[in-house]
């Protein structure tokens, strides 16, 4: 057990899943394709889930409407990409990148603004009342979903991708989609940024301390509320960014996207443990790998397998694998 701890403890679980899957799948090239897909999806799930986890950790607020940010991010990005359709098809990589940057930036800005609105109008009146909090954020999710339906319509929306992210590259006999590699890199960069923010800045220090003991941070002379709205907006912006990436990954999106992702995001934060981004990343990678491997081996059981994974982990660790210290 000590050796396991030294080499990462619970953070070895995704490796274990990958090894088991390697044996079950048998074909190394398929396995590599699935693993890369899983890692890319994991990074996108991480973007979607990290805000939910931090907000809960800091304020004990669970926002059931969180997936609305994911949906809005996806649709806003899709609209911006469609608007710059000409740039996307262009041979110029510069124009490609500019369109992509605009799309993601639009999603982020929209997500942050929506997050501000959510925190001020929806969540603030029901701090510390879990029952009403769950009900109201759930109501907000329904309203948000319906607004998306009313704005973008119920038929699936096609998402354009920039030219340079189309296609695949062949590595050792398995074909890897370029967009997935891109998604993985973006997710990794955001994770690194978050990690630095939390561990190298004073604001990060306050967030980590606030997650552990909100009262004490206030007794030391800091206002948590102001910090909280910042974290809430950051989390919403990241979720919207995750939605934008997801739109590019799926290339065909419907308004049901948010509700579908919500369940997976919940499983991610429960498995990972609330309040820590390390835990969220761990949960996201595990869930995404499971989803891809099981989706290949027994497609109909992909979601159910994650449910079972969650149950098993809760039996073993009721607070998830790597929750924040409370």
């Amino acid at each position: 057990m000590n050796i396991v701890e030294r080499f990462g403890g619970v953070f070895l679980l995704p490796v274990a899943i990958a090894i088991i899957a390697f044996v079950l799948i048998g074909a190394p090239s398929s396995w590599l394709t699935l693993t890369v897909a899983g890692l890319a999806m994991g990074m996108m799930l991480f973007l979607m889930a990290s805000g939910l986890s931090l907000v809960f950790g800091l304020m004990d607020v669970l926002n059931f409407g969180h997936s609305a940010f994911v949906s809005f991010g996806a649709f806003v990005a899709a609209s911006v990409l469609a608007y710059f359709g000409g740039w996307l098809g262009s041979e110029s990589i510069f124009l490609n990148i500019m369109a992509l940057v605009f799309a993601i930036a639009a999603a982020i800005v929209f997500g942050a603004a929506l997050g501000w609105f959510f925190e001020r109008v929806i969540v603030k009146p029901v701090y510390s009342d879990h029952l009403r909090q769950i009900l109201i954020t759930m109501g907000a999710l329904i309203v948000a979903e319906q607004l998306i339906l009313a704005t973008w319509g119920g038929t699936p929306t096609t998402v354009l991708r920039p030219n340079f992210l189309e296609g695949t590259i062949i590595v050792g006999g398995s074909s890897l989609e370029i967009f997935r590699l891109f998604a993985f890199i973006v997710g990794a960069v955001v994770y690194a940024g978050l990690y630095l923010l939390l561990n190298r800045t004073r604001m990060g220090l306050l967030i980590r301390a606030g997650v552990e003991n909100r009262e004490m941070v206030e007794a030391l002379g800091f206002k948590i509320d102001r910090l909280f709205i910042g974290v809430f907006m950051l989390g919403s912006a990241l979720a919207a960014m995750g939605g934008a990436m997801w739109a590019g990954y799926e290339t065909l999106i419907t308004p049901a996207l948010g509700a579908e992702m919500m369940v997976i995001v919940f499983i991610v934060v429960i498995i990972g443990g609330l309040g820590s981004i390390q835990g969220t990343l761990l949960g996201a990678i595990m869930v995404a790998l499971m989803q891809n491997y099981v989706g290949f081996l027994a497609p109909k059981l992909a979601l159910a397998s994650n449910m079972l994974l969650m149950m098993a982990i809760l039996l073993w660790r009721p607070y998830g694998l790597a929750p924040a210290v409370k």
């Binding site: 669970l62 769950i134 009313a150 934060v269 429960i270």
Partner: protein
């Protein structure tokens, strides 16, 4: 008059109307509405047992409802439409509901209430996905249409007149449809009564103590997790039975009628409108919501057509946007009217 009495009188009036519904309303659609109200009263009352009496939020109530409905549906379709198989199907559905409820309860009720809400939501989604994917069993998205025990067939003659035709009482044909309606009515009335008894029993008192002060109840020696799990199981079994009854009435079971998230929202709205923690509020909430569902949508259609010339507004008023308005109403209710109708009546009268 005490507020409690007012609420009860309203509820009794609703039950009385339901009792004579086939005689009052002879259109098929109206009887349909009456049966749906009866089933949803039980569904909402059992949900109130959870949310109102223990303060935990579950999003899996439709899942249990679905277990009961699919139990009957699969038994009727795959085996035979006899009473024996009906009972087997119902029991199977109830058993699955109870086992799943125990599992979820023991796993998640010991941690945080908020985990419970998330886990039930995840479980319900898995059930929904499985129901639409395991189509050989469940009929997938299309659901299952089946026959029910013969006594409920429209062609069945309960009473015959001198010529051997179906007899009429007060102009209503005494056929299988009437039998089916009263089967629904009496089963639901019985279950509602049982739920009332549970709330009035010592268990109900313990639940209230836990809701008021969990730590204190634990201190007194109540095993909070065990009680909560027990209540969750009771609610799940009641929901499964309601599902079995509804499946028998509809002769059709599919994701849309039992498992869908829209129904979960309906239940939430009904319990909040009626008044959480009152039990009798379930009657009021279910009645108002079902009536609104059947008749308000027509109004929205009219409003959407009337505003056709204005941009975007018809899109918001179209009956397809029904949920948008429900969502807004729901948020406003939880903010400003959390006691619901029954709760507010009781508080007002008590304040006088």
């Amino acid at each position: 008059m005490k507020g409690n009495t007012t609420v009860k009188l309203i509820a009794f009036a609703v039950w009385a109307v339901l009792l004579f519904a086939p005689f009052f309303f002879q259109e098929v659609r109206q009887v349909e509405v009456a049966a749906r109200i009866a089933v949803f009263i039980v569904l909402v009352a059992s949900y109130d047992l959870l949310i109102g009496y223990t303060g935990i939020v579950s999003f899996a109530h439709t899942m249990f409802f679905g277990f009961g409905a699919y139990g009957v549906a699969i038994a009727m379709k795959q085996l035979d439409n006899t009473w024996g198989y009906w009972i087997i199907g119902t029991l199977a559905g109830v058993l699955v509901a109870a086992v799943v409820a125990v599992l979820i309860g023991l796993l998640s009720l010991r941690v945080k209430a908020i985990f419970f809400a998330m886990i039930t939501l995840a479980a319900a989604s898995v059930a929904l996905v499985l129901a639409s994917q395991l189509s050989t069993f469940t009929g997938g998205e299309d659901g299952i249409t089946y026959s029910v025990p013969d006594v409920f067939k429209p062609a069945t003659k309960l009473l015959t007149d001198d010529e051997g035709k179906v007899a009429k009482i007060l102009g209503v044909r005494m056929n299988g449809k009437i039998a089916a309606y009263y089967f629904v009515f009496f089963s639901c009335a019985l279950m509602f009564w049982v739920l009332l008894r549970i709330v009035g029993s010592p268990l109900g008192t313990v639940l209230k103590a836990i809701r008021e002060n969990e730590a204190r109840a634990e201190g007194i020696g109540y095993r909070v997790v065990a009680f909560r799990t027990a209540v969750f199981v009771i609610a799940a079994v009641a929901a499964a039975l309601a599902g079995a009854i509804y499946a028998t009435w509809l002769k059709y079971t599919g994701p849309e009628t039992t498992l869908s998230f829209a129904i979960m929202i309906d239940i939430l709205l009904m319990v909040v409108i009626g008044g959480m923690g009152t039990m009798w509020g379930a009657v009021i909430g279910a009645t108002l919501m079902v009536l609104a569902q059947y008749y308000l949508r027509d109004l929205m259609e009219v409003a959407a057509n009337a505003t056709e010339a204005i941009p975007f507004l018809p899109e918001l008023l179209s009956p397809d946007r029904w949920l948008l308005w429900l969502g807004i109403i729901f948020i406003l209710l939880v903010y400003f009217f959390p006691a619901g109708i029954a709760g507010t009546i009781i508080q007002r009268r008590a304040a006088k």
